[in-house]
C-alpha cells in the first residue's frame, strides 16, 4: 500500500525552480492495476520517482506499507527499492555488458543472495517471460520487446509487491507492446500491484483505475472498466 498526502516537489532548473507536484494526494492499494496519465510536464515522472522511492518529496507525506519513507537515508531507500519495488523503464535500461541472466540477477546480487540461488531464480524468471532460450544473450543481441521482457524479469527478481512501469511500451511496436501489457496484466492477476505511467490510452485501458494528473495536481480518477472505456473515448 502506497499513500501520498499533500505531496509537493520542487526542483531547481537553471535559474528558476520548477514546481513539479503541488499538493497531490494518492493512495494505491495492494493488488491494484493503476495507470497514471498526463501530458508531458504534468509531473507524472516525478510522481513515479516518489512512488518508487527513487526520490523524496519537498513537502508532504509518502508512506509505504504504513511507514513514512521521507525520513530515510539513501541507502535505506535503496534497500526498500531493491525489496519492494520493481522498475520497468521506457528505454529498458539494461546493463549492456551483462547477459540477460546477469541483468536479472543484479537486484538479487545487491540483496546479497548467493550465486546459485540467484542464477536459478534468474533462469526461472526468464522462462516465465518467455526468454528461456535467450539466457546468455547480451541486450544488444535482443529485440526491443525481448529487452523489455528481460527488464520485467529483472523487476520481478526480488519478488516485490509493486511493479512500476514508466512508459514500458513507448519504444516498442504495437505487437511487442501488447505482449508486455499482457505480461503486466498477468502479473497483476498473480497479485502484484502494477503502476503504469503512460500517455497511451490503449495501454491505460489495461488498468483498473486511471489517475490523471495535470500541473502537478490530481485532475480526475476513473475507477471501473466501463468508466475507463468512457473516459478514453
Amino acid at each position: 500500500m502506497i499513500h501520498l498526502k499533500n505531496v509537493h516537489k520542487t526542483y531547481p532548473m537553471g535559474e528558476t525552480r520548477v514546481q513539479a507536484l503541488r499538493g497531490l494526494d494518492l493512495t494505491i492499494k495492494p493488488g491494484e492495476f493503476v495507470a497514471i496519465m498526463g501530458p508531458s510536464g504534468s509531473g507524472k515522472s516525478t510522481l513515479m520517482h516518489l512512488l518508487g522511492c527513487l526520490d523524496l518529496p519537498s513537502e508532504g507525506l509518502v508512506q509505504l506499507d504504513g511507514n513514512d519513507v521521507t525520513k530515510l537515508d539513501e541507502d535505506r531507500l535503496a534497500q526498500i527499492r531493491g525489496k519492494k519495488v520493481g522498475f520497468v523503464f521506457q528505454t529498458f535500461n539494461l546493463i549492456p555488458t551483462l547477459t540477460a541472466q546477469e541483468n536479472v540477477e543484479l537486484p538479487l546480487f545487491f540483496q546479497g543472495v548467493p550465486r546459485r540461488e540467484r542464477s536459478a531464480r534468474a533462469v526461472e524468471l526468464l522462462q516465465k517471460v518467455g526468454l528461456g532460450d535467450r539466457v546468455h544473450h547480451k541486450p544488444s543481441q535482443l529485440s526491443g520487446g525481448e529487452r523489455q521482457r528481460v527488464a520485467i524479469a529483472r523487476a520481478l527478481a526480488n519478488d516485490p509487491e509493486i511493479i512500476l512501469a514508466d512508459e514500458p511500451t513507448g519504444n516498442l511496436d504495437s505487437e511487442s507492446g501488447e505482449v508486455i501489457l499482457k505480461l503486466l496484466e498477468q502479473l497483476n492477476r498473480e497479485g502484484k500491484t502494477i503502476i503504469l505511467v503512460t500517455h497511451n490510452p490503449e495501454a491505460a485501458a489495461y488498468a483498473h483505475r486511471i489517475v490523471r494528473i495535470k500541473d502537478g495536481r490530481l485532475l480526475e480518477e476513473v475507477k471501473t472498466k466501463e468508466e475507463i472505456g468512457y473516459a478514453l473515448r
Binding site: 527513487l54 531493491g82 550465486r115 527478481a157
Partner: protein, 404 residues
C-alpha cells in the same frame, strides 16, 4: 557468501574493463611504465649495493689504504699511479694491529704478447701482500705470486683474454720477459680485471721508479671476542700520525675500506633516490591516468549507475565496483610493469659489459619488492579511482537515470 560477492564484483569489474579494451590498456600502460622504471632502478641499485658490499667483503673491511693526494678516484685499484711517493714501511709494521702491509706501484708500461701489444695497466705488488689479500686477488687458474720470484705475472681475467695468454705462457713488459703463473677470478672492479700483476721490485726497476709506491695496503687484525683487538679506524688514526711524522707533512691520504664503503654506498643511495624519485613521478602520472579514465567511465555509465541504484544498489556497492576496476588496472599495470622492469634491468646487466668493458652489474631480485610493488600498484589504482568512485556512489538516482 562474502567470497561469492567478492568473486562476482571482480568478474563484473573485469567485464567493464574489457568492454573498453583500448582505453583500459592505455591506462594500464601508464602504470606499467612507472612501475617498470621503479623496478628497473631499484633492482639495479640493489644489485649495485650488493656487489659493492660483496667486493668489500672479499677485500675486507679491516683494510687501511695510504694513497697520494689527488688519487681520489673511487674503485679499489683505481690508482693509475700518476702520483707516486716514497715511504718507509718499517715503522708502520710496528703499529699494534697491523697484520700485513705492503706497497703497490701502478704503472702503464709497454706490454707485448705476440702480435698483441699496448700500454697496459700493470700493478707491481709485494707477493706477500697478494697472499694476504688472497680472498680478493684470488687465482682462478694457476697460483698467486710467490715471495722471491721476479719475472712471474698474475693476470686479470679480461686482460688475459685480450692478450690471449694462459698459465705457462710468456710475454714481455718493456724489456723483460714474464711467465704467466695465474689468472684471477673476475671481479666487479674493472681495474682488477684489466690488471697485470708482477712483483713490485721488478716493476720499480723496469719503469725507473725505485722504492716509489702508488698505494700502501695494510690489513689489520680482526677483532676477536674477549681479546682487545684493533679496529681499522683506530689503526688508521695511528698510521696517519706515523706517516705525518715520517714525511714531516700531511700529504698522503689514509682511509679505511669501511669509510670507502660508506662513501660509495652513500653515493649509490643518493643516485638511487634521485632516479627513484623521477621514476616515482612517472608512477604518479600513471595514477593520474587512472583517475582520468575512471572519471570518464563514471560519466559514461551515469545512467547505468542510476539503474543499479534503482534496482537496489547501495553506495558501497557502486563504490566497490569502481574501486575494483581502478584497482585492477593498477594491479595489472604493476604486474606487467614489474616484469618489464626486471627485463630492463637484466637487459642493462647484459649490455653493460659491451658499453663499459670490464664492469659487471648485478640485478637484485627480491620477492618482497615484487609483492610490495604489486600491493602498491593496486592501492595506487584504487586510490586514484577513489574520487571518481565516490562521485559515482553519491550520484542521486533520479539525476543519474535522467542522464543522456
Amino acid at each position: 557468501m562474502l567470497f561469492d560477492s567478492v568473486v562476482d564484483n571482480i568478474r563484473f569489474s573485469v567485464r567493464n574493463l574489457r568492454h573498453r579494451p583500448k582505453r583500459s590498456w592505455l591506462t594500464i600502460l601508464g602504470i606499467l611504465i612507472g612501475v617498470a622504471a621503479v623496478i628497473a632502478l631499484v633492482s639495479l641499485g640493489q644489485g649495485m649495493q650488493r656487489s659493492i658490499t660483496q667486493e668489500f667483503e672479499a677485500f675486507g673491511y679491516n683494510v687501511v689504504m695510504i694513497a697520494g693526494h689527488g688519487e681520489h678516484r673511487l674503485g679499489m685499484g683505481a690508482l693509475l699511479g700518476a702520483h707516486t711517493f716514497r715511504l718507509d714501511l718499517t715503522p708502520l709494521k710496528k703499529i699494534p694491529g697491523v697484520e700485513a702491509i705492503g706497497g703497490v706501484l701502478i704503472k702503464t708500461p709497454y706490454v707485448s704478447a705476440g702480435r698483441r701489444e699496448g700500454y697496459l695497466l700493470t700493478w707491481g705488488m709485494a707477493p706477500e701482500l697478494m697472499q694476504a689479500f688472497g680472498n680478493y686477488y684470488k687465482p682462478e687458474l694457476g697460483r698467486a705470486l710467490k715471495p722471491g720470484e721476479t719475472q712471474t705475472a698474475v693476470l686479470g681475467s679480461i686482460v688475459a683474454k685480450d692478450l690471449g695468454l694462459s698459465v705457462g705462457d710468456k710475454f714481455v713488459i718493456e724489456t723483460l720477459e714474464f711467465e704467466v703463473v695465474g689468472i684471477l677470478e673476475k671481479r666487479a672492479d674493472p681495474d682488477v680485471n684489466y690488471a697485470i700483476m708482477v712483483p713490485i721490485a721488478t716493476l720499480q726497476e723496469l719503469v725507473g721508479e725505485r722504492e716509489r709506491l702508488s698505494l700502501v695496503l695494510i690489513r689489520t687484525a680482526q677483532q676477536h671476542a674477549g681479546h682487545a683487538g684493533h679496529d681499522a679506524a683506530s689503526v688508521a688514526k695511528e698510521v696517519r700520525r706515523v706517516v705525518k711524522e715520517l714525511r714531516g707533512k700531511d700529504d698522503l691520504n689514509v682511509h679505511t675500506t669501511g669509510e670507502m664503503l660508506d662513501l660509495m654506498q652513500n653515493l649509490v643511495g643518493i643516485l638511487q633516490a634521485a632516479l627513484g624519485g623521477i621514476a616515482a613521478i612517472s608512477l604518479l602520472v600513471g595514477g593520474v591516468g587512472v583517475m582520468n579514465t575512471m572519471y570518464t567511465a563514471v560519466l559514461e555509465r551515469t545512467r547505468e549507475i542510476g539503474v543499479m541504484k534503482a534496482v537496489g544498489a547501495r553506495r558501497r556497492h557502486i563504490l566497490t565496483l569502481f574501486l575494483l576496476e581502478s584497482g585492477f588496472m593498477g594491479l595489472v599495470g604493476g604486474l606487467l610493469g614489474a616484469l618489464v622492469g626486471l627485463g630492463i634491468a637484466v637487459g642493462i646487466k647484459l649490455l653493460a659489459p659491451i658499453f663499459m668493458p670490464g664492469t659487471t652489474l648485478e640485478v637484485g631480485f627480491s620477492p618482497g619488492l615484487m609483492l610490495g610493488v604489486l600491493g602498491f600498484s593496486f592501492v595506487l589504482g584504487a586510490l586514484s579511482g577513489f574520487l571518481p568512485a565516490r562521485a559515482a556512489a553519491k550520484l542521486p538516482p533520479v539525476e543519474a537515470l535522467r542522464y543522456e
